[in-house]
Every structure is written in C-alpha cells, then in structure tokens.
C-alpha cells in the first residue's frame, strides 16, 4: 500500500474520529468555564479564577476530582441499568457530532478535507434522533437508582422531552421545506449565495426551535428534571464520581449540539455574515470554522444569560407552554410557510 493512500484512507478518518470526541470535550470545558464566569459576572461575583489563566483550567481540576471519587452504586439499585445509563447519555450526544459539519471542505494539495466525519443525506434526522436517545439514559438512570427524587426527575424528563420533540420536529420541517434537503451540509449551502439566512426568513421557527432546544437540554428555565431546590439533583442524585461527570458532560455536550443545530439551520453555519455588503467583504477571509465557533459561542452565551436571569418554570406551566403555545404556533407557522411558498 502506498503511504499516501494509507494516510488518506486510514489516518485522516481516525484523526477525525478522535477530533469529533475531543471537540465537544473542549467545548464542554470552555462552556463550563464560561458559564461559571459569566453567571458570576452577572451576579456580581468573581467566579473561579485561580486554576490556570482566569480559571480556565478549573473544569479540568473538577473533572480530575470527580475521576478520583468513589463510585457508589446504591444497594437496591439495578446495577446494570444504573451503569449503562451514563454512557448511553454520553454516547448519544457524542455520536450526533459525527453528522454535524464544522465548516466547509477545503483542498490541501490534491486532497479534499471535509470538516465532518460522516456526510449523511439524512443528517438532520439522525442528529435529532440521537439527541432523543439520550432521554433513555435519563429514564434508566432515574429508574434504576431506586430512589424517589431521581424517579421524579426522570418522570419529569420524559414528559418534558416528549412534549418538546414535537415543536422541534414541526419547526425543522419549515427549514427542510425551504432548503429541499435534510442533509445538514445542503441546508447550509442553501443559505449561501446572497440568500437570507433561515433565521431571518423564518423568525417564528427560530424562536420556537430555540425555546424547545433549551427545554430539550433540560436547561434553565426549563431545568425541572434536575431542579436543585426541589429534587436535590434530579435524575443523577444517586450518581457519583465519573458517572456523575458523564451526565454533566453530556448535558453540556447536548447544549453545544443544540447551539450547533441552531447555527446550521437558522444562521448559515460557517458562512460569514453580510456577504453582499462590499466594504465588509473582508469578513469572508476569516475561515468558516471561526465564524461557526463565534456563532455557537453566542448561543451558548445566551443559554447562560437566560439561566442567570429567569426563575424556573413549574411543571404544569412547562407542559402548558409546549402544548398550548408552541405546538399550535409551530403548526400554524408550518401552514403559513407552506402557503406562502406556493403563493409566491
């Protein structure tokens, strides 16, 4: 075998697979740091600033601490399900990143380097499906703990995710309808060439998707499954050490995933802004990946901002919001979009 083929056929894919695990991890570290610092800043505190530059290594220190913690399995717990659920949650959100493109492909010499691991024609469906699988981990974890708080957390989580899947599906349909594809790369490409990003074209879809996305990731103000003042720590109350870290990392990975989806579906993925404005054309020189990161970081920041501002929803209001507002709204939105598309 020639060395070149070996590199292209084997080394690069393996490197990509490693990268697709490392990239969410790095984002998680940045995100944990960002969240703690930004929330502290909003609340007039300092936040962690001792470990590393401005406390950047704090998440790593925390992870190390969790790594060395004792692994506790409650006596009456179902050990198999108890053990399997943290990897399940983690696996589903990490695997989804295989289908998330991180930038446009570029040529290095004679080789085209794609910034995605798998180019699937049904990428959007896969990502949505995989992110929904994570709920099973939460249900199993809450159920297998054989404890009441995790059970209630898991129950809430099931209802929450089931409710919010529907508006997500319905709003995604509007985007798919315009781009004519459920391939994530196609959706981004469709927003290129002077066309308006879908976020501005379909503002209702974006808002509904974003709200549902926050609810889907169990974040404030929809963090009921782990509402600390009521359910202590919700579904992961009984977990300790590395398994707890798995849940924790999975939650942040999921946030990164939802932000990535928002950016890809509604804000042109790696595309630079203002492609038509002449004197801003230098923005196009910045690599797509950087734009992509900037946009993701913006939405991750909004996550933190919302968390620091709003009180938590109550269970019944949460369900009401989904079924009485978001589902009808997204249905109406779908009809209007379809009608407009055919009339114009």
């Amino acid at each position: 075998m020639r060395a070149e083929t070996w590199i292209f056929e084997f080394l690069i894919p393996v490197a990509k697979i490693i990268a697709v695990i490392l990239y969410p991890m790095i984002m998680v570290i940045v995100m944990i740091w960002l969240e703690r610092r930004v929330v502290a800043w909003i609340q007039g505190r300092v936040g962690p600033n001792r470990v590393g530059f401005q406390g950047l290594l704090q998440p790593i220190a925390d992870a190390l601490k969790l790594f060395f913690k004792e692994d506790i399995i409650p006596k009456e717990a179902d050990a198999f399900l108890f053990n399997i659920s943290p990897p399940l949650v983690m696996f589903s959100s990490l695997l989804a990143f295989c289908f998330v493109p991180l930038g446009e492909s570029f040529r290095v010499g004679g080789y085209t380097l794609n910034l995605w691991v798998a180019d699937s024609p049904v990428g959007l469906l896969l990502v949505l499906g995989l992110s929904a699988i994570g709920v099973f981990g939460i249900i199993f974890g809450g159920w297998a703990s054989n404890s009441k708080y995790p059970l209630m957390g898991a129950l809430r989580s099931v209802v929450q995710v089931l409710s919010y899947e529907i508006p997500i599906g319905l709003t995604v349909l509007t985007v798919v309808f315009f781009s004519g594809s459920i391939d994530l790369i196609e959706i981004v490409n469709h927003q290129q060439h002077g066309r308006v990003w879908f976020g501005f074209m379909l503002p209702v879809s974006f808002v509904v998707f974003w709200i549902s996305g926050i609810a889907e990731t169990n974040r404030a103000p929809f963090d009921l499954p782990e509402a600390e003042s009521e359910l202590v720590a919700g579904y992961h109350t009984e977990y300790s050490g590395l398994k707890f870290a798995y849940f924790y990392i999975a939650e942040y990975t999921h946030m990164v995933l939802v932000s990535s989806l928002v950016v890809i579906l509604f804000f042109g993925g790696w595309l630079p802004p203002f492609p038509n404005v002449r004197f801003l054309s230098f923005l196009g020189w910045i690599p797509g990946f950087v734009w992509y990161l900037i946009k993701i970081m913006f939405f991750l920041y909004v996550y933190v901002w919302i968390r620091a501002t709003l009180p938590r929803y109550r269970f019944d209001a949460l369900i009401k919001l989904a079924w009485k507002w978001l589902v009808p709204l997204s249905l109406a939105n779908l009809f209007v979009v379809v009608a407009l598309k055919y009339l114009l």
Partner: protein, 364 residues
C-alpha cells in the same frame, strides 16, 4: 394513573429546607396531599440553659435563635427584662435600638426574598439581595464588631454610641438599597414565570391565619393589618411616620410584595431616626449582678419573621426562674400544610421560602 401515592422525605439534608427541617411529604404524582414538618434537629435546649444563666448572660444566647435577625431577638429579650425591672431607658438609646432593629429587618427581609427567589430558580436575585445585605453586615461590624451574631443591644441601652463612621455607613446603605430593590423588582414583579409560580400559590384565608396564630408579613399579606410597632408601640416607634403594608391575596406573591414594601418603610424609619436622633445618654447604669424582684412579664416585638415574645419569670435572684420564648417561625410553620395542600410539589419550596422560617428559632 396507576401511580400510587409516594411519601417523600425532604430534608433534613435538602438544599432548600432552610437548615435542618425535615418535611414528610405525601404526593400523588406531583400533587401534595400531606406535609408534615418534623423539627428538632437543631435543638440546643436553649430554654433550659437560660434557667442556669444570669440575665446578661442570656443575651448572647438570643443571637443564636434567629441568626438572620440577631438584633430583633436581643431587643425582644432586653425589652422584656427592662419591663420586668420597670425602668425607662434614655430616648437616644431607644432611637439607636430602632435604627439597629430596622437595619436588621432590612437584612432579614433581603435574605428572605433572596432565598425565596433562589428556591424558584432565580439565583441572581439571591446574590443581589446578599450584596445589599453585605452593606448592612458591614454596618453591624463597624458598630459592634460582629456581623451575623450581632450583639447590638444591652440591658439598659445599647453598648456604644452611634458615631460618624456608622451613621455614614448607614446613610450610604440607605442610598444604595432602593436601587437594588428596584433591580430585584425589575427581575421579578412583572415576570410571567415568577407570577405563575407565586400568584394564587399557598393561599391562606385570614380566618385560618388568625386561627393558626400566623404573624408577621405572612399575616399582613392576608389582609389583616397587625403590626406591633403600630398597634402596641414599643421603643418609641410611635414617634416615627411609617405605614404598615397590607395586601389581601394571602398568597406567595403578596408575601413577597409585603416584604419588599416593608423594606422601604424600614428605610423611612431609619432615616427619620437618624435625622431626629436625640442627644443624651445611650445607656442606663445597670448593676453587673442584676437581681430582679420577683414577678413575671411577657413582652412582644415585631421581629422580621413575625411576633417575637419573651415570657420571663423572676424569683428575685440573678437568674430567671423560667424564660419562655414565643418564636414566630415555630408558629408560622404550622400553616405550611394548609398552604401546601393541593398545590404541586414544586410549590412547597416556594411556600416554605415565603414563610421565611429560621430553624434556630424553631428548635431553640
């Protein structure tokens, strides 16, 4: 639904039971059927200890009852002792006591509102409240040297005179806190999530509140205008011009609003007291070995948590024969079950926060 009633134990180690309270909650799905508070985890045998301590020695114990409002406890005890002694203390001391007690009310209400908001997920509000409270703690630190277990009142007066440093700090806090309260109200008052979580939640009718002996902001939120500072003035509260906020809803939202308004009124009282601070002695000479002629007395004050009373029976020695405390948190906690019944599990923490209990005072 085929989901049986389950019994949940909230506490004694739970993030939002204000210390070591245990609630035995029976829920059907998420609907609360029964709440049984189980107390006593912080019992230190205070009332028995007091029987073996001299009158001035009891004073530091009272700091540890309601540790979020130490001065109010000091004041209630000291006023009872003075009533038993039958002495009239100087006007200046009375005014300084009013200033300290109202500062303490501010601090206590700030932490009450903060914790209540924190329990419903608005963590930032807690931090904003605590920043303002920090200013008040600084005042106490400057005045007495202590921050939390402030020992701000003595039998016969106050330990120190108010100097320029302290009044300056008080004026600075008074200038700063209204803005902070406005921030908090901006975050919460018109917030739909907040309104949904508090309006019509934990409602208690005035007659029930009266029957259960509910006092303090929780009582005034049911439409019952009862404030000892107005109704049975002590410590020359009759000199000051202030209002007693009363709302009729009886729910968590009204309790929150009453507290916010009471903070404003407290600041009004402090301002008036500072402006009209009379000259003169700030304490009476009280013998170190204080012997009180036999007799018994009961005196109540309006503490931030409610009506705080001390019953003291003296047998003529330097130690009281019996000291009994009527602690507002203990009595207010009784109404928890009535307020929670039929509400959702998530509401328990909010209702508990709106009752503003302190376990040090309940368990004594």
């Amino acid at each position: 639904m085929a989901f049986k009633e389950i019994e949940l134990n909230m506490g004694p180690q739970h993030p939002s039971t204000h210390g070591v309270l245990r609630l035995k909650v029976t829920v059907d799905n998420e609907v609360v059927l029964k709440v049984e508070p189980i107390i006593g985890y912080l019992h230190r045998g205070m009332e028995k200890l007091w029987e073996n301590a001299t009158y001035p020695q009891i004073l530091p114990f009272t700091d540890r009852l309601d540790y979020l409002a130490a001065v109010s406890n000091n004041l209630a005890y000291v006023l009872a002792v003075e009533k038993l002694m039958g002495v009239e203390i100087p006007k200046r001391a009375q005014y300084i006591r009013v200033i300290l007690a109202e500062l303490q009310r501010l601090a206590s209400h700030l932490s009450a509102v903060g914790f209540m908001a924190n329990e419903m997920g608005a963590v930032s509000v807690l931090l904003y409240c605590f920043q303002s409270r920090e200013g008040i703690m600084d005042i106490f630190e400057n005045y007495t040297g202590g921050r939390l277990m402030v020992h701000g009142v003595r039998i016969g007066g106050v330990p120190f005179d108010l100097d320029e440093d302290v009044t300056g700090l008080i004026r600075r806090s008074l200038a700063e806190i209204p803005g902070r309260i406005k921030d908090i109200e901006g975050l919460l008052n018109e917030n739909r999530i907040w309104e949904h979580r508090t309006r019509g939640i934990g409602v208690i009718k005035p007659e029930d509140a009266f029957a259960l002996g509910l006092t303090g902001p929780a009582l005034r939120a049911t439409g019952f205008a009862w404030d000892i500072r107005k109704n049975i003035p002590y410590c020359s509260y009759e000199d000051f011009d202030f209002e007693v906020p009363v709302l009729a809803g009886g729910d968590v939202y009204d309790r929150y609003l009453v507290r916010m308004e009471e903070m404003r009124q407290s600041m009004r009282i402090i301002e008036q007291a500072l402006d009209r601070l009379p000259q003169g002695e700030f304490r009476l000479r009280v013998p170190r070995l204080l012997k009180i002629p036999p007799g018994e007395v009961f005196h109540t004050v309006e503490a931030p948590k409610g009506e705080l009373g001390f019953y003291i029976k003296s047998d003529g020695t330097d130690k009281p024969e019996r000291v009994k405390m009527k602690s507002p948190s203990f009595i207010n906690l009784q109404s928890l079950e009535l307020m929670c019944k039929g509400n959702l599990f998530s509401d328990i923490v909010g209702i508990l926060g709106s009752l503003d209990i302190v376990l040090g005072e309940i368990d004594k």
